[in-house]
Amino acid sequence: MRSHALAVADSLREVGGGPAIFRMFDLIKKMLVLLTVAAGLALLVNGLSPHGIPLIGQWDAEVGVVTADTDTAALWMDFELSSPQAAKQVFDAGHALFVDVRSRDMFAAGHIPGAVSLPLGDFDAMVEAFAAKLPPQQPIITYCSGRLCQDSHTVAQLLMERGLENVVVFIDGFPGWIENGYPVATP
């Protein structure tokens, strides 16, 4: 009998025996314990991890490319063309090679005249042939689908790591280009 009584007591404790209000308080207390453990663990791991992100990101497209990692975004500031007009000036000067990192289908539908297609997904397969033709000082402008897209930054980073020295990102990308009525090429 005693063991059964203990089992009853144990079970009542688990289901929160007693008046409903106490059961509710008990449930809330346990939820807060779990949530506190989760939040503490999250902040600790995020602070220690190399993949950790700042507590506040850059999510205003008016300011620049949206990203969770504001530290990296700040480093990129010197390597960005932050307006379609600036990109057009570079385009008109005629020295830079525009690199479209969007998908092949999007490139085929329309791109900046003279641009070459180097989709991020095909980068590894194409980069050898692409880089072999270019001197390290070749000015390169990467672009993708605007300020909600980071592929152009990723490809720019990869090209820099391949030894190309003059790579910048046109952050407004193809949408910013066509919004200003600039010329568009189709294959």
Binding site: H4, A7, V8, D10, S11, R13, E14, V15, G16, L27, K30, M31, V33, L34, L35, V37, A38, A39, L41, A42, L43, V45, N46, H51, G52, I53, P54, L55, I56, G57, W59, D60, V66, T67, A68, D69, Q150
Partner: protein, 159 residues
């Protein structure tokens, strides 16, 4: 069947093994769902941004903390630490997911669910209707665990 299993408030199944199976199923799914978010919080933050529902100041915090809530509650369910509280937390999360998916489906906003993996090849991605059905089913499981009054199997107690 003992006295506790016949408690009038017991779940309709009144079976500790069924409760255990549901706890492990739901807990395992949420642990699985948390992994890719924890591995790449920056990518998960972009997915949250894509929902277009949250203030900019909260997006990174959600991306950092939400996966660990899923992980902690999932592990709690599996191990039997505060299972009712864990199920209640996951019920809250699932209600939030259902609300977010419904709002975006209603306004025709295209978004990446980010539920179990990111990108076009995401497992269980599906249409908004499929996502709502799936989350409603998981919410039913979480509710079932919350209201179960029988004796649970494999339980860790404190105090």
């Amino acid at each position: 069947m003992d006295t506790l299993s016949r408690h009038p408030d017991a779940g309709w199944w009144a079976n500790g093994w069924v409760d255990l199976a549901l706890r492990w199923l739901l807990g395992g799914l949420f642990v699985l769902a948390s992994v890719h978010k924890i591995m790449d919080p920056a990518e998960f933050a972009k997915i949250i941004f894509g929902y277009d529902l949250f203030p900019a100041v909260a997006i990174n915090l959600i991306a950092i903390i939400l996966p660990y809530i899923e992980l902690t509650a999932g592990l709690a369910l599996i191990s039997g630490v505060y299972p009712r509280a864990a199920a209640a937390i996951l019920s809250g999360l699932l209600l939030g997911f259902i609300l977010a998916i419904s709002i975006n489906a209603w306004r025709g906003h295209v978004f990446d669910c980010g539920c179990f993996a990111s990108g076009e090849a995401a497992l269980w991605q599906g249409t908004p209707g499929w996502m709502l059905g799936r989350n409603s089913f998981l919410l039913f499981i979480a509710w079932s665990i919350s209201v179960y009054r029988g004796q649970r199997k494999i339980l860790v107690r404190f105090g």
